[in-house]
């Protein structure tokens, strides 16, 4: 072999060996001691999903106040949006650069970090019965509980409701629907009055999953549904799935103006349709209530109402279930600043700061007991959080509760159902295949 070629080949093989050897290496950082006394110095990095208005200033203000209290501490904020935080978190995880504190959803999303040893065990400081733990609602703490250990700091609660314009309902002369069938029936008179009955944008795919998950909770018995989230136990053969998919398709076809083109509409465009008084209803999270009724919008807090997505007649699942779950933060198990990170999160969840978070313009209903009251929060946020607290069961978002492959199959299936590209049977079959492959 020519000498130069041999040298090049040797270099390539050596580099490959180096890479593969490097791949096999483990990161043996000591476990974070969250109970230690914090050292108030150094830089504390935090990944949030509060980028942009109106949420961005919340953590900025917190960071500034914390730095003022502890001048030797610098808080480095990485603020992302609801969509971009997913990529950012995974990039930082893959490159071993997770910040000291990072955002998480409940369900499979948090489970991955817990299983991977990337989330510090906070049981000693946050479990019910501890000083800090007792400041939270117990149900919200249990959303991040695995094998009896507590890993997450729930920051705010969330749930999905149909928000509606009471003025349009009055004008059309309809009442809040009590069944899913009544909801569908109400769409024709609303459209006849010149309004879009339900604004819906599914460009990102997940908004469809919110409808589907709520309908699954109504139509599929709870124990079956929970088993079906995990590929190891999933059968996905309950007739409630097909009923839900058909009901969802009916809603899209009968109640939205965009119909089969809904995949081409942004979620926020639909949100603006309700806020601008052009649509009568819009399925949304509690976190959005203060946004759709913000100053300058046609929709005001006075003519904004909410109701849970009505239960279909004869549904075999849990009629009192509400889709939603707390969202919160994990502390990097490998962080040398774990104690300081806990201290910062204690500061972020004081009753005073929790009340600020729950009030307009933020409107994020805190999980801290006593932070959401009719005095501090808007009427809708208070009503929503009360309904979440009273729900017989909370069902976590479909795109975060199950494994990514199955969630992705639901996502594509929801889009195909809307556009008419697949039948409910075909959608369910594709999800079953994804679940089998993920097993």
């Amino acid at each position: 072999m020519h000498a130069q070629r041999f040298t090049a080949l040797t270099a390539l093989v050596a580099a490959s060996a180096l890479v593969l050897t490097g791949c096999a290496g483990g990161d043996a950082a000591p476990a974070a001691d969250v109970t230690a006394e914090p050292e108030y110095s150094g830089t504390l990095s935090i990944l949030t999903k509060f980028a942009g208005e109106p949420l961005g200033p919340y953590f900025e203000t917190l960071a500034a106040e914390y730095e003022e209290l502890h001048p030797e501490v610098t808080v480095e904020l990485i603020q992302e949006t609801d969509q971009s935080v997913k990529d950012k978190t995974k990039t930082l995880t893959a490159s071993g650069a997770l910040p000291d504190i990072y955002f998480t959803w409940a369900g499979n999303w948090a489970q991955n970090f817990i299983d991977g040893g990337l989330a510090a065990d906070l049981t000693d400081v946050i479990e019910p019965g501890t000083e800090w733990g007792d400041t939270f609602g117990e149900a919200s703490l249990s959303a991040f509980q695995v094998d009896g250990k507590y890993f997450g700091i729930p920051l705010y609660n969330n749930g999905k409701f149909m928000g509606y314009n009471t003025a349009i309902f009055d004008e059309v002369g309809i009442e809040v629907p009590t069944t899913f069938e009544e909801l569908i029936e109400s769409c024709a008179p609303i459209r006849a009055a010149g309004y879009e009955p339900i604004a819906f944008g599914n460009k990102d795919g997940w908004p469809a999953l919110h409808y589907l998950q709520q309908l699954f909770a109504y139509n599929v018995p709870s124990d079956v549904l929970q088993d079906d989230f995990s590929p190891a136990t999933a059968t996905l053969d309950d007739p409630g799935y097909l009923e839900s998919l058909e009901q969802f398709k009916t809603l899209v076809d009968e109640c939205t103006d965009t119909g089969t083109g809904t995949n081409g509409v942004l979620y926020t465009t639909a949100q603006e349709a309700l806020a601008g008084g052009r649509a009568a209803m819009y399925y949304q999270e509690i976190l959005e209530f203060d946004t759709v009724t913000a100053e300058g919008n046609t929709l005001t807090p006075d003519n904004f109402g909410i109701f849970a997505l009505p239960v279909p007649d004869g549904a075999a699942g849990e009629p009192g279930a509400i889709e939603g779950s707390p969202e919160g933060y994990l502390i990097n198990a490998k962080s040398p600043q774990a104690a300081l990170a806990v201290d910062f999160m204690k500061f972020a969840t004081t009753l005073e700061n929790a009340t600020v978070l729950s009030s307009p313009p933020y409107g994020q209903p805190s999980t801290v007991v006593g932070a959401v009251t009719p005095e501090t929060s808007s009427v809708a946020v208070f009503e929503g959080i009360t309904k979440v607290n009273e729900a017989s069961e909370l069902v976590i978002w479909l795109d975060t509760v199950t494994v990514p492959e199955v969630a992705d199959a639901w996502l594509a299936g929801g889009e195909a159902l809307i556009s008419g590209g697949s039948t409910p049977e075909q959608v369910l079959e594709s999800v079953r295949n994804a679940s089998d492959a993920a097993e």
Binding site: A15, C23, A24, T91, G205, N263, E415
Partner: protein, 322 residues
């Protein structure tokens, strides 16, 4: 005397030359010269090695792994990810979308652009010629992400300009949820991309046409050859080099499409607009399957490398000189 005894002036010049001319250097040994040469190229080699070749080798390594980014565990699985590629229908539909993208881009951004460039360069009025060049080039100055967002709103089914215009001119039956249905989404994205890239290739062809000696056109005119024949017998053969380059660049670009798809549809609806780049992203960042994503990246690399090699081969064989 004059020849042997320089004048005062000549002496001055000679003295000045002697003063500024450095003493002759001792010639370097070939080994030392080679070392100096290597030292000069070393920074570039290091940068290339670290930022281009090492990631390439790393990617090959990753494609043979099952990699859990959360636990950090990496298991060697050989060619399993490549086997999975073969049986993955979305991988094939993504590849088809890239091919479709390449074919349409070739039609518009290469052959359409040559024709347009020839038409523009054939305009006698200099002001018009410059103005048209600028008009066609402006979309290329807009970032692809911004253009994607712009067209997202143009295609929007309810509020978008396209459906509004169709409605206004009585073609409301043609109004579509352009990005919202499988049948029109990919073509709509490609159309936006043509709008954005068409002017740039037109400008490049215009420059190539300007380099053709005007005598050739004048001689052809004197011989009574019409403009269409002039295009096929003079323009087209003499921009052959640029055409070859543009074909390669266009095809290669078509296999690296990412931004416009992510901005406009994120690969949906129902994965109908997935291209290799977005399918790679989805597997890595949504499905957490970084090993499989690396295997897709290897396919993209092989395809673009093959195209680059073809480009090198063509450029070596088909040089046009006059």
């Amino acid at each position: 005397m004059l020849l042997t005894q320089p004048s005062k002036t000549e002496e001055g010049v000679t003295a000045a030359i002697t003063a500024v001319t450095p003493p002759p250097r001792t010639p370097r040994r070939p080994g030392a010269r080679r070392l100096v040469g290597l030292a000069w190229i070393l920074p570039a080699v290091v940068v290339l090695a670290v930022f281009v070749y090492l990631p390439l080798v790393q990617n090959l390594g990753f494609s043979t792994l099952e990699w859990d980014i959360y636990s950090g565990s990496q298991e060697f699985i050989g060619l399993d990810n490549y086997e999975k590629l073969v049986g993955d229908p979305i991988f094939w539909s993504s590849l088809w979308n890239n091919v479709l993208y390449a074919v349409i881009s070739l039609a518009f951004q290469v052959f359409g652009a040559i024709v347009l460039a020839a038409v523009i360069e054939g305009i006698r009025n200099d002001r018009w010629r410059r103005g048209l060049r600028a008009i066609y080039f402006i979309p290329s100055a807009i970032s692809l992400t911004v253009a994607g967002l712009l067209f997202y709103f143009i295609y929007e089914p309810n509020l978008g300009m396209l459906n509004y215009v169709l409605d206004a001119i009585g073609l409301d039956a043609w109004a579509q949820p352009w990005l919202g249905q499988e049948s029109t989404a990919m073509v709509s994205i490609i159309a936006m991309s043509q709008w954005q890239g068409f002017g740039y290739s037109t400008l490049l062809f215009a420059v190539a046409i300007q380099r053709i000696p005007s005598e050739l056109y004048e001689a052809a005119s004197i011989d009574g050859i019409g403009s269409v024949r002039r295009f096929f017998t003079i323009t087209l053969p003499l921009v052959r080099e640029m055409t070859g380059l543009m074909i390669i660049v266009t095809i290669s670009g078509a296999f690296q499409v990412f931004n416009e798809v992510m901005v406009m549809t994120s690969g949906g609806p129902n994965n109908s607009t997935q291209v290799l780049g977005t399918w790679l992203y989805r597997n890595g960042f949504v499905r957490n399957d970084f090993g499989y994503a690396a295997a897709i990246a290897t396919v993209i690399f092989v395809v673009t490398l093959a195209i680059a090699l073809v480009q090198l081969w063509i450029n070596r064989r088909r040089r046009v000189e006059w």
